[in-house]
Each structure stands twice: as C-alpha cells, then as structure tokens.
C-alpha cells in the first residue's frame, strides 16, 4: 500500500517546509538596470551563503515598461520589499505618500561616512537628512564620450592615438574618414532617436560652446538657466552645437542612418567599421568590452568648440537608488543586504568596468581595474563631472518647489525637437529655444508661488548662485 506512506511523506515535507519558511525572510527586489543585474546576482548569491536566513529574489524589467509597472504597483499597494526608484516617481513623493521607509534606524554606526558626502543628497537619497534610498553606483556618471575605432582611423591615414579634441579638428577628421571610405565608411555615428539621449548630446556639446555658466544639470534638465544670475540660458551655445551637426551632415560625414538607428545598433555598426567615431554614454563601455573583445578602440571626451574640457553638471545622490517599501516588514534585512552589497558588490562594479562606486576609497584601488579603457573612462568622468549647486541643499523647503516643478513640462520636448530639426530643418530653432526657456522660467515662478502658498519658506534667491564657478564642484 504505497498511498498512506506517500501521504505521510507529503505531510512531513509540508511540516519541514513550513518550518524552513518560518525561519527564512523572503525579500523581493526589482531591478531595471540590466547592466547591473548579473553583478547584483553574483553578490546576492554570496550574501545567501553568509546569511542563510534571508532569501532575495531579483525581478527584472525592461526599462520602457518600468514606469508603468511602478505606477500600477503603487496604485495597488503592491510595491515589493526593495525596488529601484525612477525619476517618474521621485523619492520625495514616495516619502510624502508614505510609500517608502527611512533606512536610518537600520544602518550600522558610521555606514554613511564611508561614502562621498554628495552621495547623501536631499531629495534623492535622503529626505529631511534621513537615508531613504541606497545608491547602486556613484552620482558621477553617465556622461557622453567619444569612442574611436583605431582600425578605421588607420585605414583613413589618421593617427589612431590622436582623436580630435576641437570641433574643427573633428569635422576635418570625419571628412577625411568619409572620403577615404568611399561611401562605405563615415566619420561619425550615434543613435539619435530617443528624446532624452538627443537632449544630452546637444546640451553636452553646447556647454563647451558659448556661455559655460549654463552647464545643465541632469536632474533639472529643464533648468537651462545661467546659475550665476538666474536668467535664461544663452541659447547661442545650443545653436552652435546644432550647427556642428549640420556641418557634418552637409558633407555626409555622419552615418546616413544616425537619425533612425537605435543606440545599441549604432554601436554595433560603428564596431563593425562603418564609422570612425561614436558618441555614446559611459554605460556603453562594459558592453563593448564584453561583446567586442578584439576591437581596437579608445575613449575620449566629446570634442569641444575650443579644446577645453567638456563639463557635465550633475547633482549628488543617485538616479538608480534602491528604496524599501513601507509595507515591507523586512527593512532590517534589506539594510543588512545593502551593507553587504556596499562591501561586496561595489568592487564588482569596477572589476566589471560598469561604473564608479560612491566610495572614493574603492575607486582609487588600482588593483580592481581590469581594463585600461575603463581606467581612462573613470579619469575622464572625474575630470568632467562637476557637482552643481542645488537650491534644495541651500534650503530644504525648496524640495516643495522641486516637487511641484516636476509636474510641469514644456509642451514641446527638447530632444525630439532637435531630431526633427536635423531631419528636415523645417523648424525655427531660435523661436523654439526662446519659447522653451520662457516656459521653464514661467514654470519655476509658478512652482515657487504654489510652494509658498502651501506654507514653504521659499523664494527665487535660492535658485541663484552669484559666486559659482562652473569648473569647481559646488559641494
């Protein structure tokens, strides 16, 4: 009679399972950045070995689907224990809605002191001075670089170790490559298809053009103002940057599909020798090292108008930080995991050539670096990113202004407009820039008025930094 024995076995298994369950803390973690999923997974495996009482399950998302997933989970009260924040649902909002909890009580003494101080940034990782989100990498990140294919440069008779530094030199070299390529090879390639990316390309080039006092911030991209006066950003820089592209296009020196090729495909075409130069984010490097091990390429700053360094204004904090939902009873275990990851996963970021860590002492450890290209990328990143002034760091009440500002968006998005202009030029750039900038200033005035009407002690003066030097970190 096998039946009863089977039933007994099942019962025993159930009892054992229940027992095991009672002892284990289950944590779910949402990740939307594919470049770190494997590293997190590796580190979490090791965490499991050291902490058998905790089990972490990673759930991954396609980046495009994440904001919708987040909206649904919030509306259904179904947020997971840990999730990566997204700027469509900013941290201060999450806090004011009571959706995420402070991690301050759970971190051990002195934990925060090991980080670069600007990691703890009001409105991003901290609110009211308390830590609400753990950064998955440094805030010094994600600027754009020039990748150059040495083989293609050699074939065109260029010095493969002297990539162009100024716009003029860039145009010259791009034309040389294009002429030598005989319709098969072009000077420049980039995937100019998504609004946010197009915006970065144009703005980062523009910062080198005219009035450098308008180094734009990525957290407040609409705030194209002169930070020393609070006045409208001088649009001539943007026009010059567009002119730079127009010049390349006029001599066919830019890949003919750059307006209709996704970034990953543009990278692959560049790597396959269809172009000498590629503009893409720092995040592309690790993928290139992985998928194109034999490619002879280098990395440099984007060309600047006159050869100076290309600066990129950043705020502190983190754009991809992990927060812990209020409804999760496992904040202590989550904090334990974050501390583990800070020791065990951050070094992997450097070893895997993915990104900088928020702990300067780690970034300085030369033995962690496995590739020269990544060492160069880190050097350029530290050179080029400047920490911008922040109204919220001056006056915590300005958080109210920032939150309200986020609800207001220009009717014509910047990046798509740039693409449209390069596509058929049937578009008045200076008119667009004037109205775009005007809208931004009007939005700030509205947001300030709404915030003070709701009792926040804010005024315009916090948004102006008279003594600010764009080349110097503000904090």
């Amino acid at each position: 009679m096998p039946r009863p024995r089977l039933a007994l076995l099942l019962l025993a298994a159930l009892a054992f399972g229940a027992h095991a369950l009672a002892q284990t803390t289950q944590l779910t973690m949402w990740v939307r950045t594919p470049e770190t999923v494997d590293l997190l997974g590796t580190s979490i495996e090791r965490f499991h070995e050291a902490n058998p009482d905790v089990r972490v399950r990673i759930v991954t998302f396609a980046a495009d689907a994440y904001p919708g997933a987040l909206q649904a989970a919030i509306s259904g009260g179904d947020l997971p224990d840990m999730f990566q924040v997204h700027n469509s649902v900013p941290v201060p909002r999450l806090v004011s809605l009571g959706l995420i909890q402070s991690l301050e009580p759970h971190f051990s003494e002195g934990f925060r002191d090991r980080f670069d101080p600007a990691t703890w940034w009001e409105g991003s990782t901290t609110v009211g001075g308390e830590i609400y989100a753990w950064p998955d990498r440094s805030f010094r990140r994600a600027s754009l670089f020039l990748y150059y294919n040495r083989d293609v440069m050699r074939a065109a008779g260029l010095d493969p170790d002297a990539p162009p530094v100024t716009w003029d030199a860039f145009v010259d070299q791009a034309n040389t490559v294009t002429e030598a390529g005989n319709g098969r090879v072009y000077g420049l390639h980039l995937g100019f298809t998504s609004g946010w990316f197009n915006e970065r390309v144009i703005l980062q080039l523009a910062t080198t053009a005219a009035d450098a006092h308008g180094v734009p911030a990525e957290h407040l991209p609409g705030r194209m103002v002169n930070w020393t006066t609070g006045e409208l950003f001088d649009p001539s820089g943007i026009q010059e940057a567009i002119g730079f592209f127009a010049e390349l296009m006029s001599s066919d020196a830019v890949h003919p599909d750059f307006l209709n090729t996704g970034r990953s495909q543009a990278t692959a075409q560049w790597a396959a020798g269809q172009a000498a130069f590629l503009f893409d984010g720092s995040w592309r490097l690790q993928e290139l090292l992985r998928t194109e091990p034999d490619l002879d390429f280098g990395i440099a700053m984007l060309p600047s108008r006159d050869g100076g360094p290309v600066l990129w204004g950043v705020e502190g904090g983190s754009q991809n930080a992990f927060a812990v939902a209020t409804r999760s009873p496992n904040a202590a275990a989550a904090a334990r995991l974050f501390e583990w990851l800070s020791d065990d996963y951050y070094p992997l970021l450097i070893e895997g050539a993915v990104d900088l860590t928020p702990i300067p002492e780690l970034n300085a450890r030369d033995e962690l670096y496995t590739s020269d290209a990544f060492r160069e990328l880190v050097r350029l990143t530290e050179l080029g990113t400047v920490v911008l002034p922040s109204p919220v760091m001056e006056n915590a009440d300005q958080l109210e202004t920032v939150v309200r500002l986020a609800g207001k968006t220009a009717s014509r998005p910047f990046g798509e407009s740039m693409q449209g202009f390069l596509a058929d030029g049937a578009f008045d750039v200076s008119g667009f820039l004037a109205s775009y900038g005007g809208q931004q200033n009007a939005f700030l005035a509205e947001a300030l008025a709404e915030a003070s009407a709701d009792g926040a002690g804010v005024d315009e003066s916090d948004w102006v930094f008279p003594g600010w030097e764009p080349t110097v970190n503000h904090y």
Binding site: P34, T60, A62, S75, G77, P80, S264, G273, W283
Partner: protein, 277 residues
C-alpha cells in the same frame, strides 16, 4: 489535362510566386538571421545563407529567457482565454441576436464605441480590480483580465452571424420541446463552427502577443510571465543580440502559425458566415 491547366495558369503563377516571395522576404531574412552570429548579421546582413547554420541562438533564447517556463504560461493563459472568449461571446451574440429587451440598440452602439478608445494606458483600473479579487500574481487573474478585455468585437460578429440564421430553426427546435439552452448547444453552435474558428485564431493571436497586461499583473511573480514578456528581454538599451531576438521571435510564432494552418478552412468559412448577413 492537368498540365494544360497548369500551363494556362503559368502567367498568374509566375506573378503570384514573385509577389509572394517578395512578400515573405523579410520573414525569410529573419529565419536566416536566426542562424547567424550577431557580427555576421551586421556585416553581411544582406546575404540570405549563413556561413554555417548555428542553432545556438535558439538554445540561448530558450534558456536565457526562461522560455520553457514562459512557453507553458503562454499556452495556459492563451488557451483558457480563448475558451472563455468563445463561450461567452457566442452566448452573448446569440442573446443579442434573438432576445428582444429594452435598451438593446444603445447597448450595441455602446459596445461598438468601446472598440475605438485607445486602451494602452487603462491598466491601472484593471490592476486594481484584479487585486480586489485577490488574483494578483496568479494565472487565473491574468486569464480573467485578458478574457475580459476582448469579447466585444467577437460578440458583435457572433450577433451578426446568428441574425443570419433563419428563426424557423429555433422554432422547430422549441416545438420539439428543446429549451433555450438546448437549442443553443445542439442547433446553433454547430452552425457557428466557422465563426468559432475565426474567434479562436484571432483571439489566440492577440492573447499570445499581449505584453503589458501579463507584465503588470504578474509584477511580483516573474515565474508567471508569458513568452511575449520574455521576448522583450531581448529588446532594449543594452541589447545587441538581434539574432537571439529573431530566434526567440520565431519560436513564439510557431504555435500561432500551426493553429492558423489547422483552422484555415474554417477560418475562411467563418468570416463568410459573419459577413454574409
């Protein structure tokens, strides 16, 4: 005799063959890409024959994307959805065609109106509803949402179909002492076979390819994701795996294609019935 017909058809056959070849060229291209390496795909993309036939893209798609699990989920969700939709829209269509009740016309117009409202972003109410039912992160919840969003169009087509069947048939059945339900099952459904085939194929295709609903309704249980959700792991900022994507896409097409071939005869006849009226 056969030869003569063939010869007479020759011009038409040639034209059709050429057009059909051009027609499915992108598809053939996809098939050939799925046997190439990514580098080959980019540098020698226009050549149809790969240097050598590699099956590793299929292996990768199947394993990396957890396809076997996803495949199973897709089958369960799609088959259940199709069954529910067929039963319910057939019943509704029959009722709309046969039963007179006040407000029938406005109801039909209202039904038709729902077809045109863009629905890509209406996920939040659906999500909240499924949560209230306690069915979040379960396959039944997903099936319910998929089936609930669909049947309007088919109900209308069934209605058109049943209106075209002479009333005398029902009356004869009723004279024989059959109930409303019995008449429906024994007389009407067999007549609606082709219409059913139509619904099966179209609904199968839609549910099989649905992306956002399955993603959002299984947020906290990724083991329940469907094939199409898995497929999107190959589309994105960091992905350069086009050949993996084509392989994955081909895997996901096969079931729909098989179903179409199996039901093709009914499928055509099905629409015949519905549009005749």
């Amino acid at each position: 005799m056969r030869l003569r017909t063939l010869l007479r058809q020759l011009p038409v056959q040639v034209v059709l063959a050429v057009v059909a070849l051009i027609w499915i060229y992108p598809f053939i291209w996809m098939v050939s890409s799925s046997f190439k390496t990514n580098r080959e795909f980019l540098s020698r993309g226009l050549e149809l024959l790969p240097e050598q036939f590699r099956t590793e893209n299929y292996v990768r798609a199947w394993e990396v994307a957890n396809f076997s699990q996803y495949f199973q989920n897709s089958v369960i969700v799609t088959v259940s959805t199709v069954v529910i939709v067929v039963v319910i829209s057939a019943l509704t269509g029959y009722a709309l065609a046969r039963v007179q009740f006040p407000g029938k016309r406005p109801l039909i117009v209202l039904y038709a109106a729902t077809l045109f409202i863009p629905k890509g972003y209406t996920i939040i109410p659906v999500y909240q509803l499924i949560r209230e039912l306690g069915l979040l992160n379960t396959l039944p919840g997903l099936i319910l949402a998929e089936a609930g969003a669909a049947p309007v169009l088919f109900a209308l087509l069934f209605m058109a179909h049943f209106s075209g069947i002479p009333k005398e048939l029902d009356e004869a059945a009723e004279l024989d002492g059959a109930t409303f339900g019995q008449t429906f099952i024994h007389v009407m459904l067999p007549l609606a076979k082709p219409m059913i085939a139509t619904t099966v194929v179209l609904q199968f295709m839609w549910t099989w390819n649905s992306f956002f609903t399955p993603l959002v309704l299984t947020l906290n249980n990724p083991d329940l994701r469907t094939l199409t959700v898995g497929l999107y792991a190959f589309v994105g900022e960091y992905n350069t795996d086009w050949t993996g994507l084509t392989a994955a896409a081909l895997i996901s097409i096969v079931p729909v294609l098989v179903l179409f071939l199996a039901l093709q005869r009914y499928f055509i006849a099905g629409l015949t019935g519905s549009v005749k009226s």
